[in-house]
């Protein structure tokens, strides 16, 4: 028998007014008793139901860390009926937030539960030198790095340079950005781009100079370019999503990386390219006052 604490997608809330001193945050969780042998999962009543809605919905809002403590203590009582392990399923996007805003809760989860990632998500991590694309599988805590030339290129672009070229100049940067946006986001050439159909070269219509030549390979499914600069410099650029990276994820990651200065250190996406979220009906149930 396992006791499972499932954290909801989304963010932690501030402690409710009147919450006991020492409350770090409020979180939305649901609690289940899982019997793997009999393939049974039963929602367990929450320790302290506050409202009727809390009883009706499998989700409840709990104070961190007190309510988690209560649950962990109940383990002792229930283990009289057999071995009871506690499993905590925490969405990837919530883990860093828990660690930051509710460190004591995070320590308890780490030390006294089996802490697992809730769903498989793609994670674009932009901390430090370069953006990385990670796949974080469900039911584990691993973060597997995936090769994505597009994300590397977009990250370079957002930082004002290109792979293998420290100072490409503003025209080349704008050109590469326009072509990436045309291929990945708009699926149409922007009016600022001129396309030379004889050579496959893109230039900026009002600022000719650097050109970006699409490398033609009738069999290839990846997107490769060669940037031609005025001084005969030729820089190969790979704008492929990378093996196994879903197109919607690559597209959202590109838009996020090119979308101006970073507001978050990371972007989490489910395999369909959407932000991880609970199904709509459950999301409507908002955190209590």
């Amino acid at each position: 028998m396992n006791l499972r604490i499932v954290f909801a997608h989304g963010h932690l809330a501030a402690p409710a007014p009147g919450a006991p001193a020492g409350t770090e945050a409020r979180a939305r969780v649901r609690i289940a008793v899982v019997d793997a042998d009999r393939d049974l999962e039963a929602w367990r009543a929450i320790p302290r139901a506050r409202r009727l809605a809390d009883v009706r919905s499998p989700w409840c809002d709990v104070d961190l860390p007190q309510d988690v403590d209560v649950l962990l203590m109940s383990r002792g009582q229930e283990s009289a009926h057999g071995d009871l392990h506690v499993e905590a399923l925490v969405p990837a996007e919530l883990q860093a937030e828990l660690e930051r805003r509710a460190p004591r809760t995070w320590q308890r989860l780490l030390s006294r539960t089996r802490l697992l990632q809730r769903d498989g998500v793609w994670h674009v991590a932009r901390s430090g030198a370069a953006a990385r694309l990670l796949w974080r599988p469900a039911g584990e805590m691993a973060a597997l790095e995936r090769e994505s030339p597009l994300i590397g290129l977009a990250d370079h672009l957002a930082r004002g340079h290109l792979p293998g070229l420290a100072d490409p100049g503003p025209v080349a940067l704008a050109l590469v950005r326009s072509v990436l946006e045309a291929h990945w986001l708009a699926r149409r050439l922007g009016p600022e781009l001129a396309f030379n159909s004889a050579t496959g070269a893109f230039t900026l219509r009002l600022a000719p100079g650097p050109s970006l030549v699409e490398l033609a390979d009738p069999e290839a499914t990846d997107l490769r370019f060669e940037l031609h600069l005025g001084d005969n410099t030729r820089v190969p650029l790979d704008a492929s999503a990378g093996a196994g990276v879903p197109v919607p994820v690559a597209r959202r990651a590109l838009a996020w990386l090119l979308g101006g200065p970073p507001t978050d250190a990371g972007l989490f996406l489910d395999p369909s390219g959407a932000a991880p979220a609970e199904p709509t009906r459950e999301r409507e149930h908002t955190l209590g006052p």
């Binding site: 050439l189 033609a216 290839a220």
Partner: protein
């Protein structure tokens, strides 16, 4: 039947004429070259500038209706607006790029010629390999666009100092004369058959009016001529020093004609018989600006009639992603059997 995606105009010299068509498609793919400096690629969600719309009554033709110029700025500089390369640039902008991660596909492009056969140089240019953005190549097919049965089409480029008139296919001389006269009456440029006739020597059948007097008489003649096209009325213009220009309707075997007579102060006179068609008044309430096509019907009981003023396509360019997909059905386009009206610019 796949719908034309894009109209573009290619002159017989191989240049790209500007084009005045806006084609609305369900998926928002619309493209047109509205004037030599602009390529308009409409996209869903882009609002059109209301000031760019054609004035009310400018044309009845659906295909010529609001020439919405999206707020996309100048897309094609004039020097780019020439040649097949510009046409391909246009096509690349009108086309939807293949989804990332898909192998490149061949994309089909139909170019419809109006008028003379392409020159050898143009044909060679069209046969070369044209790459499509996002991988793959364009396959160009050229076809001849034929006016509807019983009609003749004439192209007029009003922008020229002397409006140029071009026949589309086999056009009888009176249709060309009519088009030249219409270009003179409704255009803004100086020149045309009446202007030339006024300046021609008398022994060659002209009125032999020179200098300022010629300009003055001609301007009067033009006003009256335009009124005659629309209202079927004659008129008279007299200069201060006794030159008289009279314009009267006349019957000639080919239909209604316009008899222009000049009488000099010394009593000598000359006359010019010009063909006349009936035009719809509302189609001519604003001066034309770009190239356009007039379509005349010569088989009516009242003589020639302007059937359609197509401020649009010279050439039709068709993009289709799937070469094995639906093809343009020329016959169906030619019949123009009332299919939503928006394709009417496709035939002449």
């Amino acid at each position: 039947m796949s719908r034309p995606l894009l109209f573009a105009a290619v002159e017989d010299t191989g240049g790209l004429l500007p084009l005045l068509a806006v084609r609305r498609r369900a998926d928002g793919r619309i493209a047109a070259l509205c004037d030599p400096t602009r390529l308009c690629v409409e996209r869903p969600g882009i609002e059109h500038s209301s000031t760019a719309r054609a004035p009310p009554g400018r044309s009845n033709d659906v295909s010529a209706k609001p020439l919405g110029v999206p707020r996309l700025g100048t897309l094609l500089a004039p020097e780019h607006g020439r040649g097949v390369a510009a046409l391909m640039d246009l096509a690349a902008h009108a086309d939807v790029l293949p989804p990332p991660g898909q192998p490149p596909s061949e994309r089909l492009l139909d170019v419809w010629f109006v008028g003379p056969e392409p020159t050898a140089a143009l044909a060679r240019e069209l046969r070369s390999v044209w790459r499509a953005p996002g991988g793959g190549v364009y396959r160009l097919r050229t076809r001849r666009l034929v006016p509807l049965a019983g009609r003749v089409a004439v192209g007029i480029d009003w922008r020229a100092a002397t409006p140029s008139v071009r026949a589309v296919g086999d056009v009888p001389p009176e249709a060309l004369r009519l088009a030249r006269l219409a270009a003179e009456a409704f255009g803004t440029a100086v020149g045309g058959p009446v202007f030339d006739w006024l300046g021609t020597a008398r022994d060659s059948g002209g009125a032999d009016v020179a200098g300022d007097r010629r300009q003055e008489l001609w301007e009067g003649a033009r006003t009256v001529l335009a009124g005659a096209f629309v209202h079927g009325a004659g008129g008279r213009k007299e200069s201060d020093d006794g030159h008289v220009l009279e314009l009267a309707l006349a019957r000639d075997p080919a239909g209604i004609a316009f008899d222009i007579a000049h009488t000099a102060p010394d009593g000598s006179s000359a006359s010019l018989l010009a063909p006349l068609a009936r035009f719809e008044a509302e189609q001519w309430s604003a001066p034309p600006r770009g190239p356009e096509f007039l379509e005349f019907s010569f088989d009516g009981p009242l003589g020639p009639r302007l059937e359609r003023r197509v401020a649009s396509a010279v050439y039709l360019l068709e993009c289709a992603r799937d070469p094995n997909g639906p093809q343009v059905d020329l016959d169906a386009l030619g019949r123009d059997d009332g299919d939503s009206g928006e394709d009417r610019g496709a035939t002449l």
